[in-house]
Amino acid sequence: MKRLEVLLFVILGGFAATFLFLSREYNSTAALFPKLIAIASLVFLAAGIAVDRIEGRRGNSGSDPEFGLRPSILFLQAGYVVVIYLIGFFAATVLYLIIAPIQLRYERWGVAIGTSVVLTVALVVSFMWLFDIQLPPGAIWEML
């Protein structure tokens, strides 16, 4: 079985098991549906693993899935989220929209920079001025 799929099974199974465990603390009305569904989910998970193993022994597991994701792309996205929190939406987005295309090997840097600035300004103007939505200002600016 592929390692990442094992991780997915662990995440999903752990999730259902956690709900089943926590349901003990609630009254019977509040706990009824979560218990039922958690047990059913664990049954389906066990059945899915069993079928997967049987198919694997028969040689029917098929080819390994294509996992084309570079970890750096994920780290950049995570970094974007963190930087939004720290320095605010505007600055973080301008930086992200310049760095991300370059990381993805986009060669026209001028277009990337121009798009970054234009799109960020358009979004900030629409959301903050037109729709009156306050975008994250950044924890660092708030502290200063």
């Binding site: 709900f19 509040a30 549906f33 569904i37 994701l69 986009y106």
Partner: protein
């Protein structure tokens, strides 16, 4: 003029991921204070309908649901864009939304009394059975991956239980977090599962979303849609049904219509690969639901959803009495509003004709440039709905999970189905048991509830029984 303005505003807001009709209508409500009564309602209707239509733009071209009412539009709309048919998909969406709005309008004007009689017969047992019926579609959503689909459906249901118990109001699975007491935000989960996960897929590929150079013709989409009268009728009925029943709305209508259409298709295996029916059905159901939602609001004074609650507020502010007096006490105002609602459908249709092709060209932008933009729009949409930074984190986490689902071919749609229907199912089950004093027979002694149960069993059993009967 206000009709055109409302349509333009609605389409722009709708095109932004995560922001749907609720956001648009609530934002526009203060602008109506200075308008005459009929104008205000017509303006809000135009915003409402155009936002629902605009929600599909992002769903089709970048696999990013514009709102919870456009989740199902991604499932066949985006594959069409990948095949170089984004323009065709936009044509199907435009005409489908228009036809859905017209079907909803007809039900509003002609069938209101009959539909309201039916809606008044629906109680908690019937609502529970409707949710069960919709959940039975999980097996269809899963395709060949039945066990994985059932597992994800269960996970989706568990996610829907996070927050407060609908009967006892006891906080459940919140881990002491105030944030989780409001439940897991559907829009953030959906943006992560479908939009962000697709970004991770796109980032690994060169080229553009459209794998061929071209987007197809919008008129071709119109022709395809008009050749599917059965789909139009079925989806319209689903939309109206979901609209007139309070608590069922956009988030359910598009998903249920999709799976019902798949169920009735002779080639269900084509759904998810760019099947026109798979896009047409949710588009029609969505806009039929939008107008159908107004029926209980106008005729009973009962808002069918959060959006129609805002409509109710607008009516009260402008001195329009909803309920039985809406027709008798408002004079010609009621019919002016109905005429305006009809014009609103034509308005967004006309604007859609002008701009649909331009939106479709997004599918030709290089992935390296487009993928980061989708990330930004997804995070912004997730944040903008409730103004909570934690929603952005939820989107990011579900983006990773969604990517794993894509790689290992887990049907993420099943998780969404569970998440959408879980609360409805549990709340109405518990209410039914309270009403009956603990007797489970309440679900089988009420005719509509029993009928829905038989229909559910029939829908599950039919694919297995039919081949045996034939042989």
């Amino acid at each position: 003029m206000y009709l055109v303005l409302g349509t333009a505003v609605g389409m722009v807001i709708g095109a932004l991921p995560g922001l749907g009709p609720l956001f648009a209508v609530s934002l526009m409500l203060p602008l109506t204070f200075g308008m005459p009564a009929a104008t205000a309602i017509i303006f809000l209707t135009a915003v409402h309908a155009a936002t629902a239509y605009g929600d599909s733009f992002a769903s089709i071209v970048i696999n990013t649901p514009g709102g919870v009412g456009s989740v199902a539009s991604c499932w066949d709309g985006y594959p069409m864009a990948q095949k170089g048919q984004a323009g065709v998909a936009m044509g199907i969406s435009t005409l489908g939304s228009f036809l859905g709005g017209i079907i909803g309008w007809i039900s509003l004007v002609v069938l209101s009394p009959v539909l309201i009689w039916f809606a008044l017969k629906m109680g908690p047992p019937e609502y529970f059975m409707v949710a069960l019926l919709a959940l039975s579609l999980i097996s269809l959503a899963a395709g060949e991956q039945v066990l994985k689909g059932l597992l994800l459906g269960g996970i989706g249901l568990l996610l829907s239980f996070v927050g407060r118990d609908p009967i006892t109001a006891e906080a459940r699975f919140t881990f002491g977090s105030l944030y989780l007491e409001d439940g897991v935000p559907l829009a953030s989960v959906v943006l992560g599962l479908f939009a962000l996960s697709q970004v991770l897929v796109l980032a690994g590929k060169t080229g553009s979303i459209s794998q061929v150079r071209g987007i197809g013709k919008v008129w071709e989409g119109f022709r395809l849609a008009l050749r599917l009268p059965g789909t139009i009728l079925r989806a319209g009925l689903v939309g109206i049904g979901m609209g007139i029943l309070p608590a069922l709305g956009l988030s359910s209508a598009n998903v249920v219509a999709y799976f019902i259409e798949k169920r009735f298709s002779k080639h269900p295996e084509t759904f998810g690969t760019g099947e026109p029916r798979g896009l047409l059905a949710p588009e029609i159901a969505k806009n039929a639901c939008i107008v159908g939602d107004l029926i209980p609001t106008f005729t009973l004074g009962i808002p069918g959803s959060s959006v129609t609650a805002i409509f109710l507020a607008a009516m009260v502010i402008h001195g329009i009495q909803p309920g039985a007096e809406f027709f008798s006490g408002s004079g010609a105002l009621a019919y002016t509003i109905f005429a305006g609602i009809l014009l609103a459908q034509f308005s967004f249709f006309a604007m859609g004709l002008l701009f649909a092709r331009q939106f479709a060209k997004v599918a030709l932008i290089p992935n390296a440039l487009l993928a980061p933009m989708i990330v930004v729009l997804s995070f912004m949409g997730s944040f903008a709905l409730r103004g909570r930074f934690q929603d952005v984190v939820v989107t990011f986490i579900f983006g990773i999970i969604g990517y794993l689902f894509v790689v290992f071919e887990y049907p993420a749609t099943c998780l969404v189905l569970g998440l959408v229907l879980g609360n409805l199912m549990e709340a109405n089950f518990q209410r039914s048991i309270l009403i009956s004093g603990g007797e489970y027979s309440i679900f089988f002694t009420r005719p509509i509830s029993l009928g829905l149960f038989i229909l559910t069993v029939g829908l599950i059993a039919a694919p297995h029984i039919k081949p045996r009967l034939k042989s």
